[in-house]
């Protein structure tokens, strides 16, 4: 998977993916369990193509690189790559890339009695209520987060 940068914004850099590359890894379905071996272990034929696993709707999928820390407790850290699917209908509780008053932001969306709210996942940040007059758009739904562990 090769990322091609197509647009920079203050909060998120957008990328488009080159989905033509393929790296199939054998999937160890028994994972790391200690103990007695799975009887299926001898029959592992499954291969995992990350492109296929992470991208369900190629024409509608974009990648973004995250800047900022407001979603750290949701496992989204600075520098992470998020997989964004524009074709999905937003559901309550989804993490979404939103456009609010001139800026992109990543937040959990929540529709309550007081209207739509953007919830951060970091106690240092406050929820944002979407005022009627604000310029707001749910740009796409975050489906996966790719985080570098070392």
């Amino acid at each position: 998977m090769k990322l091609i940068r197509i647009c920079n914004t203050p909060r998120i850099d957008f990328y488009t993916a080159d989905l033509t590359t393929k790296l199939e890894l054998p999937m160890a379905s028994t994972l790391l369990s200690a103990g007695f071996p799975s009887p299926a272990e001898d029959h592992i034929e499954l291969k995992l193509d990350l492109n296929r696993a992470l991208v369900k709707h190629p024409s509608a999928t974009f990648y973004g690189r995250v800047k900022g820390s407001s979603m750290i407790e949701a496992g989204i850290a600075e520098g992470d790559i998020i997989v964004i699917d524009k074709s999905l209908e937003p559901k309550d509780g989804d993490i979404a890339v939103c456009f609010l008053d001139g800026e992109f932001t990543v937040k959990r969306i929540s529709s309550g009695a007081e209207g739509l709210c953007l919830l951060p996942a970091n106690s240092e940040f406050k929820p944002i209520r979407i005022a009627e007059e604000s310029e707001f758009q749910i740009w796409g739904i975050v489906t996966y987060v790719i985080h570098k562990a070392r």
């Binding site: 033509t20 024409s59 524009k86």
Partner: protein
Amino acid sequence: MFALVDCNNFYVSCERVFNPGLNGRPVVVLSNNDGCFISRSNEAKALGLPMGGPAFRFRKTLEAHRVALYSANFALYGDMSSRVMNTLAALAPSMEVYSIDEAFLDMTGFERIGLETYVRSIRHRVRRDTGIPVSIGLAPTKTLAKLANRMAKKNPQFEGVCILPDREAARRAMASMEVGDVWGIGRRHTEFLNLNGVRTALDLADAPPAWVRKHLHITGARVQAELNGDSCLPLELVRPPKQSICTSRSFGSAVTDEAALGQAVAHFATKCALKLRGEGELAALVTVFICTSPFEQKHRRYYGTRTASLLLATQDTLAIVRAAAAVLGDIFKPGLSYKKAGVILGGLAPVAATELRQASFFDPEPLQVQETSSKLMQALDAVNSRYGQGTLRIAADAGTGWKQRQEKLSPHYTTSWDDIIEVRVDS
């Protein structure tokens, strides 16, 4: 029924996807080298900024209205175009990609579920998945679909969709359209028609067919028939808009082999490059598409397209064939029967505008090499124009060999080879 799906102010719309704050503001996209307007938002059009107008001449207007200026980002536009086309390909049994931002869809068979509902769902789907707004014209012929599309754009109350289901609707629409705006009627013919009292599309539809045939020849006669609801105009016979040069072809019999497909694509790329030099233009984008027959079983159906942007705009056959081959390698899926392939060159700019350009620090080739390439192309064209096309060709292009093989499979098809694939730029 044919639907023409056209992306609204495509380059501007691409910029707006990634900067929604530009919605409602005047926005223009400038060509890379000469700073002319190549795409304008409706707000920019309303300010009187003309297509192709040089930015420096409109500086006052641009500043006074805080018009957002963008340099062309062809890598982005090419990618967004692939997304739009791939989305459309999944929604119709067959499709003709007509340019970077337009496609014809065959809507036959959708009458039963309600054409308007379906077409609106297509529009919604493209908008949702890619962020690009499109307008759709729907009519019994391609020429009328094009006309309907124009109506959809001009009348906001149609909300992006205009359907001309029958003769009466088509006649009403034609009465309100100038003949020069009809698809396939060029500037010279427009002057001639106006002088002879043919002012609207309806006038042309009602003109005596023999007179039209005599003065506008076969192309004009076809346009007239299409306006009257008689679908007879193969897409390839009408010239594409200025932004692109396309060479594509349905194969006489299906091609499964990547190497054979590669030869075809190299051949199309060569043809495109030749046309490009004929037009005196440079191309910045190379798009390749390959597709299976729409009648294949669903899991064996495939439409692959991708656009490569060239670091340096060129008219060199070698560079264009190389780029096309790389793209084909990306989109080719083995085990399928391909029915059609094509090459589209986009991001065109006249050589004159780029000739005096300063070499970029990142230019992959020093100017001297570019000069050698230009001499090589001149020699290539001189030999081929004297001894016949394909006399001197690059190895990847099987040239006549490929043609002959097709000739054997489907002789009728090579007889019109030179007429049909090339679709030239209208002046």
